[in-house]
Amino acid sequence: MNASSLRSWFTPKRIPAVVAGILGVVVIGVILANSDQTQAIVLGLGGGALIAAIALSITLNYQGSGVVNFAAGAIAMYGGYVYYGLRVNGQLFLPPIPNPLAPIEGIAHLAGAASFSLPHIPVFITLAHPSQGTAAFGTFIQQPAMPVWAALLISVMVLAVMGLAFHFLIFRPLRRAPVLAKVVASVGLFIVMQAVIVLRFTSSAKSVEPILPTKPIRMPRGVSLPSDQMYLVLIVIAVTIGLWALFRFTRFGLATRAASENEKGALVLGYSPDFLAGVNWVASTVLAGCFGILAAPINQSIDPITITLLIVPALAAALLARFSSFVVTLAAGLGIGMLTSWIQLVSNKSWFPKANGSAIPGLADALPFVIIIVVLVLRGKSLPTRGSIETIKLPFAPRSKGSFPTTMILGIATIGLLFLVTPNWRLAIVNSLVGMVICLSLVVLTGYVGQISLMQMALAGISGFTLSKVADAHHIPFPIGPLLGAVVAVIVGLLAGVPALRVRGVNLAVVTFAAAVTIENLVFANPAWSGLQGASVRSPSLFGFRFGPNDAWTKPFGGGKGLLPNPWFGVFCVVVVMVLVLAVVNIRRSRIGRHMLAVRSNERAAAAAGVSVSGTKVLAFGVAAFIAGIGGALSGYRFGSVTAGYFGAIPSMIFLAYAYLGGISSVSGAMVGGIIVAGGILTTIFTNWLHISEQYTLLLAGIGLIIMAIQNPKGVAGAIRDGVHLVQRRRASTSDVSDSAIPEPVEATV
């Protein structure tokens, strides 16, 4: 069977059959494998159940409101903490809520009335008091404050309220916004949930006691499974059957399915799409949260990271089910859990891929994604089919005029600022400049060609590590080193971009996310590649002139040693950004830019116009990877090192949010995106001028993302452009009353 006949055989209708087949193979594997492997596969069910539950929540969200909720794992984690707080401490914790009285109090304090105090919003509401406990080894062991049923009941109510709040405060206002705006809002939610938990409980793990009975269940061939995991599996199966029946047999389910395709469909069945979305948000939040509660004990502890990051395999499972079939979602979730556990077990076999003599550490995490990418590529089509709705709406991509003088003026002004401002601000400017480079790469790929990428930071990391481990290690001098890094990033970017030729829209977002996870696990976490000693980057120098941020410098006027960071590094960044800005502007103004936008707006029509759709996408992936690679090299020079944690799936996700909020379809948007990145100009305004405690930086970043996504679903740059347009139109309208003659580019894309 060749590839194309395999593709034509692999139709959507056959997915359940394929998944059933895979499960069948797993079951046969269980029967044939030795008892250790059987045990590993069976044990994987427990973890798989939680993955499946989060994936079900994602699918439910997508059906109900068209949102791919990147925060589903965070919601599960949050649910676990709500329960923990109630059960153990008898306290319901509240997220930080703005207190309208605080400014009054602040003014009073400024006026000298230091003792003036107004009521504060409580941090915890105490509902029950823990009984006196005993101390053992410096640790206070107390009896739980609240019975299980009460804590569960209150948790479910809290989760339901949260679901409503998500709907009304965030996603209802965004219901007509582009898909990406919703993705950004869910990324914001992800950050907020995690930040609230760290604020209230710190990030250290908390021990949780089991809710479900934990007696091991003995099975044939010496295999056993703790009963709580078995119950969890049964519950998730029951939930799946319930959801399946609900969506198949009830008017409500029918209406939701109808609404997910066409809002009118739901209205015909007598439901408002808004009501449906709200109910589905409550259901998905309660679902994810409850499984967080039930599953935390299976991991024996709860912390803000572990369950949150299960979003990665859960998204994979939901994607495999095309965000539509609950049964396939369940099967995929359980399958990923079992597969991961099995890979973990066989990682010591002689045939297992090795690095430095021991099994490649990240393979267990990466392999499910490799499988998913392969499945999607086989399933995808090089051109969308007639009537498919796989394209995403994106903001208008303006053709800039007069960008050369503007770029020059801004560039020179920034260079001037670099020498004038204090070191803190200099650092902020440099951080923003590096951020701009990454955002520019997303402008080309996502803004111009419409390919959502959640792997740009991973590509930047590839370049950074190449710079450190290859270029520096072999004494390759400055301008060649970073270029080499960027070229390697291009190669990896093209490899990872191949699936993009056959996968579109949100599916592509998840595929690139999977690619980032794979790169993170197989490259950055691979000791053979990234090394264990840290990856330091030598500061750049040209003709003996060293201009790394930590190199000493002499003030150009008046002499004397200047404060670090070295502003010449900032100058270097400005020059790089200017070159890239002009190049990206030129892309938009030239043939390739028109071809890119043609592909973005209509792949079929583009092909009919003789545009090579695949070629254009490949070129865009390459150009974007190159720009991201330059960004990664700059970042390496900036810190003097590259670290695995800085690059990878989650940072890529957050960077897409920055780029989108700045304005993903224009170069000016990338400038704004750079300003709002972590450690950039906006953050520095927050900390230096508004004196906001670092404690709240992450929380505010998350809230800011959500608010900005709601206020400017097309990005800040787009909103500013709208404002400018408006002023121009005001002027124009004095002479010309007719309004409709003037095109309204941005509105048209909504």
Binding site: R591, R594, R604, S612
Partner: protein, 276 residues
């Protein structure tokens, strides 16, 4: 000599044959019509010819078999098409829409454009726009145009690629009678200028008036072919159009077009009775 010739063309969707063993020829400089009730497989035929759906059978274009080529390669070879619903690039201006079709990208040109974008010559494209009365809309966005204008831009974009054969999928759909007739005259003059055209349309009046030769499809099968005069007289065609057996898969266009005027020469129109 045939510019475009298909033989044994078949397309299946999930086991159902949408087009079955279809043969068709478009001679150089001729205007060939492809008609049939809704769901007859007309658009699918164009999709197959231009490479948008996988098909079986041979597609010979200008003397070579292009059935192995991608849709992009077919377009570049000179096989143009328009779309039922225009399918314009809404993010680009009208002129940019045309430029996309007329310009090719190569790596060297791309690298040069990065540093010094060319000022591409658009005088040829301006001529095309002029010829379609679109000169004033060159800098407008497609979304600001009327439906009729969008249709014309679709045609202009296809022409911008300087095709040898142009497949037009219902260019007159949604146009009023006057617009439709004007479009017909333009198409005819293009053909007279040497272009070969395969035209699908529901406007029987238009098709019967301007085409040199016609093929009639029903349920994916060829039921008749011949000159407009022969088709008018064909009983199978009349039956196919009389019976309302076909589901309406085109949304806003109902059935076969209502306005089939008396053809020149006084022969009674064929399709005029179908809508009742």
């Amino acid at each position: 000599m045939a510019m475009l010739s298909i033989s044994g063309l078949s397309v299946s969707f999930g086991g159902k044959r949408a087009v079955d063993d279809f043969n068709l020829e478009v001679g150089a400089g001729s205007l060939v019509g492809l008609i049939g009730p809704n769901g007859a497989g007309k658009t699918t035929t164009i999709d197959a010819i231009t490479g948008f759906v996988p098909s079986q059978g041979a597609v010979d274009f200008d003397g070579t078999d292009i059935s192995g080529l991608s849709s992009t390669m077919r377009a570049r070879a000179g096989l143009g098409r328009t779309w039922q619903s225009s399918e314009l690039f809404d993010d680009l201006t009208v002129m940019e829409n045309l430029q996309v079709a007329s310009e090719r990208v190569d790596v060297r040109g791309f690298l040069r454009d990065l540093f010094r974008p060319r000022n591409d010559d658009v005088s040829e494209l301006t001529k095309i726009l002029d010829s379609l009365d679109l000169a004033g809309s060159a800098d407008a966005l497609p979304t600001d145009l009327s439906h009729g204008q969008r249709k014309l831009v679709g045609v202009a974009r296809a022409l911008a690629a300087q095709p040898k054969v142009l497949c037009m999928d219902e260019p007159a759909a949604g146009l009023d009678t006057v617009e439709s007739q004007a479009l017909g005259r333009r198409i005819r003059s293009l053909v007279d200028g040497g272009l070969s055209v395969l035209l699908i349309d529901h406007d029987m009046g238009l098709v019967l008036t301007i085409c040199d030769y016609l093929y009639v499809l029903d349920f994916g099968q060829l039921i008749a072919e011949g000159t407009p005069a022969q088709i008018r007289a064909d009983s199978k065609v009349i039956t196919a159009y009389l019976g309302e057996r076909h589901s309406d898969d085109h949304g806003d266009e109902h059935g076969v077009d209502t306005a089939v005027p008396a053809a020149p020469g006084g022969t009674p129109a064929v399709g005029g009775t179908t809508d009742g």
